[in-house]
Symmetry: C2
Subunit: 254 residues, 2 copies
């Protein structure tokens, strides 16, 4: 029989609703214990940005937003609340497309996503919006340090959001921040099954991890804001998720 | 302690190199046995298209391709072999972008991907190219029926390819064919953590499954063309992967 390395993806249950100032590593460790997970060196802890953003106070009260004329105009075009659009504009460095009820933006981080990552779901109710962390790589680094301090383990951390994309329906979980892992695996120079040298193959491991965890995390009422991946072989070089961003001059769709 | 549903992703090892006419379900069952996997009802079997394409004879001999003038012209612009470009053109319904050594095409299936899915990797050597199956959903259906016949199990099958995408570096595994599963999970109408009704959330479960399996499959010399996913809750409605394709008039980037 061949030696098979199984990978396990375990939802972290029992994490309560986060509030500003909460320590995300503590929230995760609380859930890890309740879920009976044995967190070990080399595991990957995947965290939904909503948990991180709430702990970091990245919640916007709609009542406190005064929409600009531009936001009011775009609100008509997209069918959104003008205060929601105003919050999108404040979180966008650039607008790429408008249509079908979404504003495709480049965020201040450089990410290209719908509505600059500003979301009404899981924000805390109709009166609130949730935005992306200011520096998701730094957030991942802090969570990783916290888990080392609290549990004595050296894990990788991947922070995710669920994004739509061109050409294909449905959102998939992607990595917006990471620590303790190289998000990109460069296979160039390695050989294929027949010995041919691969010339152009780079794999976005972090996005595949995010997507895998997305299968057990979910965003609806049964939502689970974290998951633990066990048994994955990955490059532990500490490289930020912002390196996943394709530079504009290498992008055929910007 | 909370009840935690773990998901497992198990690489299917020991699958030999496929050749035209091979029964993919037999190849997979051979690997499943060698890998000591207990294939059960409700498992998802993920298969790299390269295995399927080879069994279906979707291999092109470069020597037998005569490039058109258009192909020769595009070959200069992209630095590719003119016969490779000719094969891309034959597999493309439309060209969307050309640059950075790739030709972004809409395939005859409607998929938008680099080089119409025509690949020199794992094709069998420098003299060959591999193309996508003619109907990956039909291929998935055949593999699923084969596994039912050979092993008496009712599983879902997802056929994958590894694709680049706009805005983000690195390829991720995506679903190009499926059977026994609804590739899209529509959460609209369900409630978020705070009771707010979700208005726009559709998740591409099949792409998340493909990406998850991509973490154990790989395409380099240690490549593993199949994986088994256990413990995943999914909608068993039989809906083809071609429903993932976003219609052109709903696409902001075509």
């Amino acid at each position: 029989m061949l030696r098979v390395d199984r990978m396990e993806i375990i939802p972290v249950l029992g994490i309560g609703l986060a509030k500003e100032g909460d320590d995300v590593a503590e929230l995760i460790m609380d859930g890890v214990k309740k879920s009976g997970i044995n967190l070990e060196d080399g595991d990957v802890v995947v965290v939904a940005h909503s948990l991180v953003s709430k702990a970091e106070g990245k919640i916007v009260k709609l009542d406190e937003v005064t929409p600009s004329h531009h936001a009011i105009h775009l609100a008509k075009a997209t069918g959104k609340d003008p205060r929601h659009v105003e919050t999108v504009l404040r979180n966008a460095a650039k607008i790429l497309r408008i249509g079908h009820g979404v504003i495709i933006c480049e965020t201040h981080h450089g990410f290209v996503c719908a509505n600059a990552g500003v979301d009404a779901s899981n924000s805390g109710g109709e009166a609130f919006l949730i935005t992306l962390p200011d520096d998701p790589d730094e957030s991942a680094h802090r969570i990783r340090s916290g888990l080392r301090r609290l549990a004595g383990v050296d894990v990788a951390v991947v922070i995710t959001d669920s994004w739509g994309r061109p050409f294909r329906k449905g959102a998939v979980n992607v990595a917006i921040g990471c620590s303790g892992i190289n998000p990109l695996l460069d296979l160039r120079g390695r050989k294929d099954l027949y010995g041919r040298v691969l010339r152009s193959k780079i794999i976005c491991v972090a996005d595949q991890i995010a997507a895998a965890a997305g299968l057990v995390m979910g965003e609806a009422d049964e939502g689970t804001p974290a998951a633990v991946v066990k048994g994955l072989q990955y490059d532990k070089t500490n490289i930020p998720a912002r390196t996943i961003i394709r530079e504009e001059d290498e992008d055929l769709f910007r």
